[in-house]
Symmetry: C2
Subunit: 163 residues, 2 copies
DNA sequence: GGATGTTATATAACGTGTTATAGATTAAAT
DNA sequence: ATTTAATCTATAACACGTTATATAACATCC
């Protein structure tokens, strides 16, 4: 067994480590979404959520809202368009801007997600790291160990069986 | 100003958020490396560090050590080969395995990095989040705010001027 | 000792982030 | 009013992770 260098090096590799844990968490989240039979990527949710919360947003505002760069927002918005979850139209006052809004299908997805999926994911993540405390490196180690012991999907209350 | 949805949604978007912070941290780390005039990517360091710590490793062991999948390890190792930092040779007992070892150039880079760069990066990250405590979401918020206020390169002791 | 399965690495195809840059539209300036 | 600058979105090229699969070498089993 080889040691985990990223973990060993601590603060020095914190960037790599956060990325790595984030990727793992998102993959686990995706699994919960897939198990629920929804056809959407975990990374696309924040876009829909942003519009749901703030109303129609431009590409630039979406980028800001989800914390990525504008080309990334353009691409993901294109995917959501293809999927039929959002609509895009020129802003009436400024033809450079494109206002992205939820379609009925998109709103349905959000409404359903709010009821069924989001609480499950949030609860699973809270179960994983909600009670942690202390220095961040220790918390990260606990999260990694926790994920290795039981992925998010196994921490999700909806998996319970009613006997 | 648009609200930061990923932040607002808390545990629900924790995967996205960790990734995002990790990417930011790594970009900042890269800046420190570049300013020091070294020609290496932040993400390549853990590979060299792993070999430095454990001696020559196979591709599979490297993947384990840095916590990524084997194809990723194959690719990064290929880059390090091109850069002349590592060497690769068939394992004497098992011709399927390739042992990756540091070249003199690679060892020099590591030695120099240990002395000059790594302490600087570790100190900057520690300055950013070493004293944090409490629930992880609050720590992440503090890290994001901290990075926005002053990137790693500005927290790095080597920038001090001797008057 | 040759067929069959396992293991290690390589390669291909893709996802999703980035930076750099082009094109269109609006705002500002002379 | 026309030129110039700024802003917004799109596109291209790249970085670096993933999964799936191919190929080569070793191990095992009649």
């Amino acid at each position: 067994m080889v040691e985990d260098v990223v973990r060993t090096l601590g603060f020095l590799c914190m960037g790599s480590r956060l990325r790595r844990i984030g990727e793992r968490l998102q993959a686990d989240t995706q699994q919960v979404i897939d198990e629920a039979g929804l056809s959407i990527q975990a990374g696309q949710y924040p876009f829909l959520a942003a519009i749901d919360r703030a109303g129609p947003l431009t590409i630039g505002e979406l980028a800001q809202a989800v914390g990525i760069t504008q080309p990334g927002a353009t691409r993901t918005t294109g995917q959501l368009l293809e999927l039929g979850y959002v609509d895009m139209q020129l802003a009436p006052d400024d033809q450079r801007r494109r206002l992205v809004s939820l379609t009925d299908k998109g709103q349905d997805l959000i409404d359903h997600s709010k009821k069924v999926i989001w609480p499950r994911i949030a609860a699973a993540v809270a179960d994983l790291c909600g009670d942690l405390d202390g220095p961040i490196l220790e918390q990260l180690a606990a999260i990694e160990d926790g994920l290795a012991a039981a992925p998010l999907a196994r921490r999700s209350p909806a998996k319970e069986e009613t006997p």
